[in-house]
Amino acid sequence: MDYWPTIYVFVLASFIGLGVIRRVSRLLHTPLMSLTNAISAIAVVGAILVAGVDYPLRIRVLGVIALFASTTNIVSGFLITDRMLKMFKTDSKHEGQPS
């Protein structure tokens, strides 16, 4: 297997990550952490491939647990990030009731 392309992707993605994250508002560091958490739950892809393919049962069980853990992170991560971000307002007096 030629693994060099994947290493390229890793290095370039890390540079993008460093560049983008550095610009994130300091106000939002807590939501940032829950958002990146939800994004890194992309391990769900690996979990589906282990849980869903016709492998021996004991292998699939591991995949199912991993799939459960990742889904939990995806669901709670995106929902709580949105919940927190909804609260950031410039001046609540000039806006409507908080939703």
Binding site: M1, Y3, F10, G17, H29, T30, I48, G52, D54, V75
Partner: protein, 468 residues
């Protein structure tokens, strides 16, 4: 054909993730980022699920339903519990990576040893070590933050701690190398299980010497580990989406950890191996010193006469759930035309950005939340600095006392304000276990009590005097 579709899906998802983080650079666009991230994840799940080799749909549906059943309540925790929730989700992320890595290895060992190339083995072992270490480490961190009874709050240290940890890590790496060199040897699966056990143990050992004040850094580092374990999984499965998403998460955790370390003037190694936050021995010959207490009435009067008030929140505000009372105080002062700003230290609280979220929850406009570096030049003009449950981040010993463990740490210059009122739960030292010089200054008055009650009293006083 299917390959093209799934690769396109992964590419779109990668782009959406980058946009998601890009939109986090201002609160105005941040929510768009959440939708982009959600869409990216949904696309990735759908194209993976659509792979023809995936046939056990019932299993997948059950696991996803269970994930929703646990995930939805976890997203509704009170905001003061967000640090614990974050640590817990790092644990879940670590577990997922560790389990997938374990499944991959035992599967290929039995059915397709040719898959286990040296490159994949190195990635696989990195995946399981990082994954399982993040699992137990984050569980410990979550336990400390939740103040679970059997998890020690104060750092636990013992003789030769770092030597033992280092030795253990060395053994783990040696075993890992043995597996990577001979992945198909008869003994390899047993060694693999030993490495898993060592990684689990190592996660615990890594976190027990770490005190509460260092939690923001540690959570950020665990965040980074969880991301890197996803990268390693991407190397094993040759999946570029996993590598991209993991790298984004890894660099995010790294940057946050660096910001936290800088805000404490400490290095990574010092945070991880320094066992900061043990209660220090009382200095010999130290004379008995007295605090000046003040009543809420007196403090309210001082606040009323001020024209510029800076409120400095800390972990004590979170513990007392005082943010809504703080908001009432803010309203009372604003009503009188007083300028009110909040000074936010990067490590105030138990995770990066903790104070901002709590104050935003209480409907305080984020334009009044000011970073340490921006507020400090204005501190000499400040009439009243009100410290709400913050301690180490306003301790002037960081500037003056070379023997102090927090010497060199950038602080909010509360001591430069014309007067200081500090709300404190008890007379005990803060989480770093150090006495605070600020409290003994002749311009400082203490308000002892639960932050919520004390601020409630202040609000009552101000509201009462406003009636006349």
């Amino acid at each position: 054909m299917m390959y093209g579709v799934s690769q396109l899906g992964y590419l779109v998802a990668s782009a959406l993730f980058i946009f998601a983080l890009h939109w986090m650079n201002t609160p105005k666009t941040a929510r768009k980022g959440v939708y982009a991230g959600g869409a990216g994840t949904a696309i990735a799940i759908l194209v993976t699920w659509a792979e023809p080799s995936v046939v056990h749909h019932v299993w997948i549906v059950l696991a996803i339903v269970a994930g929703f059943a646990v995930g939805i309540p976890l997203s509704r925790v009170p905001l003061t519990a967000v640090p614990q929730r974050t640590a817990l989700s790092h644990a879940f992320g670590g577990a997922a990576a560790g389990l997938v890595g374990t499944a991959e290895y035992y599967l290929r060992f039995a059915e397709g040893p040719a898959f286990l190339t040296p490159f994949r083995m190195v990635a696989l072992i990195a995946e399981i070590i990082l994954g399982y270490l993040t699992l137990t480490g984050s569980l410990m961190a979550a336990g400390k933050l939740q103040e679970v009874k059997w998890v020690p709050q104060r750092p636990v240290t013992y003789p030769f701690q770092n030597v033992i940890n280092l030795l253990l890590f060395g053994i783990t790496l040696a075993l890992a190398a043995a597996i990577a060199l001979h992945p198909t040897a008869a003994y390899a699966p047993i060694l693999f299980a030993v490495v898993i056990a060592l990684a689990l143990l190592f996660g615990v050992l890594l976190i027990i010497p770490i005190g509460g004040a260092d939690m923001p850094t540690v959570i950020a580092i665990l965040n980074s580990y969880a991301g890197l374990s996803a990268v390693a999984m991407g190397f094993v499965l040759d999946n570029k989406l996993l590598i991209t998403a993991g790298a984004l998460d890894g660099s995010s955790g790294l940057i946050l950890a660096i910001i936290m370390c800088k805000a404490m003037n400490r290095s990574f190694t010092n945070v991880l191996f320094g066992a900061f936050g043990q209660v220090q021995q009382v200095k010999a010959g130290g004379e008995e010193r007295v605090y000046k207490s003040e009543t809420p009435e007196g403090a309210a009067q001082a606040l009323e006469q001020a024209s510029f008030v800076v409120i400095i929140p800390g972990y004590g505000m979170a513990v007392a759930q005082a943010q809504h009372k703080v908001r009432e105080l803010y309203d009372q002062l604003k009503k009188r035309g007083i300028t009110v700003k909040f000074a936010i230290h990067p490590v105030a609280g138990r995770m990066p950005g903790h104070m901002n979220v709590l104050l935003a929850e209480a409907d305080i406009p984020y334009t009044d939340l000011v970073e340490m570096d921006e507020i400090n030049p204005d501190m000499p003009q400040c009439d009243v600095a009100l410290v709400v449950g913050a301690n180490d981040v306003v301790n002037p010993a960081a500037r003056t006392d070379k023997t102090s463990p927090i010497y060199g740490m950038p602080i909010i210059d509360a001591d430069k304000a014309r007067s200081v009122f500090a709300i404190k739960r008890s007379k005990n030292p803060g989480f770093a276990g150090i006495d605070n010089e600020l409290y003994f200054s002749d311009r400082t008055w203490m308000l002892f009590g639960d932050a919520k009650n004390v601020i409630g009293e202040l609000v009552k006083q101000l509201a009462g005097s406003g009636m006349h």
